[in-house]
């Protein structure tokens, strides 16, 4: 292998970055006569996403199928009954957080793929760390162990709060699971007293994943589509509303938390060869 001079490498990197930057940024300042980025997009009314906010996606898609034309001309016939916080009951989807209503209702299949990708990457971590020599856990200071005992329950509680309120506030299963995994990391780093077995985490994770897929297939049986919402939605904005989404988000939180805990454990001490 030839050692290139450090400055030469930086020079060529700068040239590549500059050329790519000119190509990427120039379309925004183009003064040609072609079609430009539409100024209509400055309003949600001119985007398809308005129907996620008004929760009338089914009506809108039916209407557009019937009149078979341009979206902007066909949308006039869509009936709009606006949803109001703490008043509307039994809307098309339950959550007050519109992002959650997309992630777990309209595009729930996408989320299933996302969980699968995370599972496969953590599986890859476990495979790479198999047979890696386990590092001895260092003796920690008293402050570290006492602080962990004090902090870990609070961290777990915050994680559970985040994924239980995923349909009302920012957050949800993935951030909640990451917070829970942080609590477990603190426990791994402090002491050897805790008797951790990766197998238990894997059991919890597998059970959660299986129940998610079972709920999705239940939607296929009770209603007409995969991941269909077959439980009552309740009043918009209540804690006890949109039951299916709360259940699935809690399961995702448990799954992601145990999965990331196993991944961090593997990176810290290595995976034991069974």
């Amino acid at each position: 292998m030839r050692e290139t001079s450090f400055n030469t490498g930086k020079f060529f990197a700068l040239i590549i970055v500059a050329v790519l930057g000119i190509f990427m940024i120039s379309p925004f300042f183009d003064t040609g006569s072609g079609k430009k980025i539409s100024p209509r997009l400055e309003n949600l009314k001119d985007r398809v996403s308005l129907h996620y906010g008004l929760k009338n996606v089914n009506d809108a898609s039916k209407n557009i199928e019937e009149c078979q034309g341009d979206y902007y001309t066909c949308r006039e016939g869509v009936k709009c009954n606006n949803v109001i916080y703490k008043e509307t009951a039994d809307a098309e989807t339950g959550p007050a957080n519109l992002v959650t209503s997309i992630v777990l209702d309209y595009r729930a299949f996408d989320t299933l793929g996302e969980i699968t990708v995370l599972f496969i990457s953590i599986l890859g971590v476990a495979l790479l760390m198999t047979g890696f020599p386990a590092l001895p856990v260092k003796n920690e200071s008293m402050i570290q162990s006492a602080g962990a005992k004090f902090l870990v329950p609070i961290i777990m509680l915050v994680g559970i709060y985040i994924f239980l309120h995923g349909h009302l506030t920012p957050g949800g299963g993935f951030p909640g699971g990451a917070v829970i995994a942080t609590g477990f990391l603190l426990m791994f780093m402090t002491s050897g007293d805790y008797n951790f077995r990766s197998r238990r985490f894997k059991t919890v994770e597998t059970a959660a994943g299986t129940i998610i897929v079972a709920l999705a297939i239940a939607g296929l049986i009770f209603k007409d589509s995969f991941f269909a919402n077959f439980l009552p939605n309740g009043r918009l904005g209540d804690l006890f509303s949109s039951f299916l989404i709360v259940i699935i988000y809690s399961l995702i939180g448990i799954k992601v938390g145990s999965e990331l805990s196993v991944g961090l454990r593997n990176l810290y001490t290595g995976e034991k060869d069974d």
Partner: protein, 122 residues
């Protein structure tokens, strides 16, 4: 009032910073940091596509009782959900990259990519 083009240009500049880091750094962990910067830039670009002037987050609450039928009080929720997916996948790829870096370090006893491959296997 922010011009959307400002957000696009800033995110593209951040992407180029990450690309420069990937091209010039020799340490594997620093390369992973640069890849994370590129991911963040792509996420900011997508969020910027969903931004609407003078709008708030797409979450109904006591202060935001309903979505305006003229569609001017919330930002577009669709890019937010796509970015949620992208962030989770970014976590997965970073974890895999760190695992590979750990194995490489245990094999070659160095994180510098120029000094790897001195052993007889490669």
């Amino acid at each position: 009032m922010i011009d959307n083009r400002l957000i696009y240009v800033m995110s593209l500049l951040l992407f180029l910073v990450g690309l420069y880091g990937v091209l010039t750094r020799k340490n594997i962990l620093k390369m992973l940091v640069a890849v994370s910067i590129m991911e963040t830039a792509a996420n900011i670009f997508l969020i910027g596509l969903g931004y609407i002037s003078n709008s708030s987050a797409p979450i109904l609450s006591e202060s935001l009782k309903q979505v305006n039928l003229l569609g001017s009080n919330i930002s577009d929720p669709l890019p937010h959900s796509l970015v949620l997916t992208a962030i989770v996948i970014g976590v997965g790829t970073t974890a895999l990259g760190i695992a590979i870096a750990v194995r490489l370090y245990s094999h070659y006893r160095t994180l510098n990519i120029n000094k790897m491959g001195d052993k007889d296997e490669l």
